[in-house]
Assembly symmetry: C2
Homo-oligomer: 412 residues x 2
């Protein structure tokens, strides 16, 4: 008999029918003999409805009061799910973040969890009840309601799993696991049985938006086995854990990509200390997030400096960069907002030097010109023209042996 | 400087625009120098929306979970109102029933208030803040969320006023006070400056649905001065207190009436002990509420027994009564569902014997036949054919000097 924390997001509880479906699932797991703590989000659309009301009152609503309002979204869901479970003959009790005492700091709208009093949940579990907890919310030391910010329900689930030393934290989503790449781009993409926390962090930040990054970090920190699976289908999903000896022996776990990139280059900058911060300082102050950064030193005492930003920020960044170029006496500024980033991710690449070579050769064989390269411990990213995205991802997926042999098993 | 508890119902906070309007009113009172605790209901329609969701899950939802869901309605309103106040530069803080520790018993959906910890409110008041509290809800000794049942926000306001020993509890409604009778029936109806708790109880139960009866009882018990006034207009409203020497010296305070009555009579019942309970027992078991009850003893050892019920229950009650008549060997059963009840209410009538006489003569002068009469300490009720309702109420309103002399002051 295991202790499992299950988390269902807004889409999974988006209607009464879906809540009844979740109740059936929880009931089935309970009958299987597991002790269950279930974390739920607000019904999809509800948080936006509440935000809309608040913004009608005040475009910049008082943060403490915004939390009072937003926290009602999850409170409705816990009540409805507990009702549905009780109706199925599965004893259940709902708890708000304050009731189960998810203690946070007082940073309203983006609070951080400080501790959890798990005794009340244990009492219910010992009496055979399913414990249903509102995600995304907590209470500060003064009894004020706080929220963890958008997507915080994943974090709640992981934090409860850590506090209860649960055997597994299951995050139910609208996908049935983490894939080697986006199945919409590569039909033969394969669901991963396992992936490491580090790989998942690289995959998530690169655009495979399955889990909130913060919850993955949290799970890694407290060593909570995390499983991503589908709330609508069956199947084991993908388990996210630390690297183990019996891990799948793939060099590469997956291929992530990001369509919305733009790159900017400043050429012929006199090369002296402080150049990088002189260039990136004003960009950061304008709230433009920078992704990749590359600097090459030239032969004539000048340097070329390239970075990528979100495509929406391209025009703004270009204007800023032209001003900076004038101040620095740079030769030229250019840019391109029709580029994409493709990244190989895998803990296996740490010990295999040949991966970069295979990657570059595969792309060259397809006639794809690489515009930028950037590497980290478990990731290699290249920037290419956006027209090559699908071709490049598919070629790499095949080259690194990620293709699914049996198409029937793909859907899990 | 006074301490005032103000309560705004669902209609008064039914939209963002109305919440902003309430905030303006509260702010004005605050600037006037009063300390303020404001109790609000859910936005109109919200409680029904939440009930609808719950009933989709389960026609008989788990009471504990229903309270978790319903309590979110008021929670949204307290957040929105506090935001609006803060935006106006009027410092305010919202509290749920649990946060301000409105301790109740554990009777979910119809809990009773056991106590209130007023310290937290006092701290905020001392710091110049307006305290905004969710009506209708509390928390039991185990930390479970409870609700007081529909209309319970009035009770919350009175209970807070009692706990804080407030100078006045103001209930804002969609009418500007308690009238001598329904202004839609008698154009010259007059707003009462004052009325006693007892009179208010008789008026309320007779169909002047201005205040929840329970909150009037509560206010009377704890001697909390209660004021009914309009959330939309200006004016002092009506103050409900104990009888005082300087009370308006009216014999009659008001004329209440009830349109939805039906009467049933069982004639020629052999008169022996237990007849009344034999007749009313099955009626009560069928969940039919009985209003007036009259029994006359006849000359031939039989008795006639008449009672009134809500018009919706008429057919059901008639069928039951026919069955009972057979068991008792009664002579006949008849009924009428086209009747209304008109009642004079006033503490003044206790010491004036002539009131009943004036009432009956006034009706007779208009050719109105009285079908039933019932009296209490501060009330005389008659049943007449429904076609005489308006004529009767207007004639009595004039006969007892209740007409407004100055039509312009009527709207308050």
């Amino acid at each position: 008999m295991a202790l499992i924390v299950q988390k269902f997001g807004g889409t999974s509880v988006g209607s009464v029918e879906r809540i009844l479906n979740v109740a059936q699932r929880v009931h089935a797991a309970r009958r299987h003999g597991d002790d269950l703590v279930v974390v739920v989000s607000a019904m999809s659309g509800e948080t936006n409805r509440l935000l809309g009301l608040a913004h009608e009152i005040d475009p910049e609503p008082a943060p403490r009061e915004l939390d009072v309002i937003l926290s009602t979204g999850e409170q409705v869901t816990i009540g409805l799910l507990s009702m549905a479970l009780n109706r199925l003959g599965c004893p259940a009790r709902s708890y708000t973040g304050a009731q189960v005492r998810i203690l946070t700091d007082s940073a309203h709208n983006k609070a951080r969890i400080l501790g959890i009093d798990e005794q009340r949940m244990r009492d219910d579990l010992n009496q055979g009840r399913v414990v249903v907890v509102a995600g995304f919310q907590g209470v500060d030391e003064h009894g004020n309601i706080t929220t963890l910010g958008r997507g915080g329900s994943d974090t709640t689930a992981v934090a409860l799993a850590a506090a209860l030393k649960a055997d597994e934290c299951q995050i139910y989503t609208d996908v049935d696991g983490v894939y080697t790449t986006d199945p919409r781009v590569v039909a033969s993409a394969r669901r991963l049985e396992r992936i490491t926390f580090e790989e998942m962090l690289e995959m998530a930040s690169l655009g495979s938006k399955v889990l909130q990054i913060r919850s993955v970090e949290f799970a890694g920190k407290y060593n909570v086995p995390l499983r991503v699976l589908s709330s609508f289908g069956e199947g084991p999903g993908t388990l996210i854990t630390y690297e183990e000896d019996d891990m799948e022996e793939a060099l590469i776990s997956g291929i992530a990509f990001n369509r919305d990139e733009a790159k900017l280059t400043i050429l012929g900058v006199p090369d002296r200390p402080g150049v990088a911060s002189h260039i990136l300082g004003p960009i950061g102050e304008a709230n433009i997030e920078v992704d990749m950064i590359i600097q090459n030193v030239g032969a004539d005492g000048t340097t070329d400096f390239t970075f990528t930003v979100h495509r929406n920020d391209y025009t703004k960044a270009l204007r800023l960069l032209e001003k900076i170029a004038g101040e620095l006496g740079a030769r030229e500024v250019n840019g391109d907002d029709r580029i994409v980033k493709i990244s190989l991710v895998g803990v296996g690449m740490r010990s295999h030097a040949g991966i970069a070579g295979t990657m570059f050769k595969t792309l060259a064989d397809e006639g794809i010109n690489i515009r930028m390269i950037s590497t980290s411990e478990i990731k290699i990213s290249v920037v290419v023209d956006e027209k090559y995205l699908e071709l490049g991802v598919r070629a790499l997926h095949t080259a690194f042996g990620l293709d699914n042999d049996n198409k029937d098993s793909q859907a899990g």
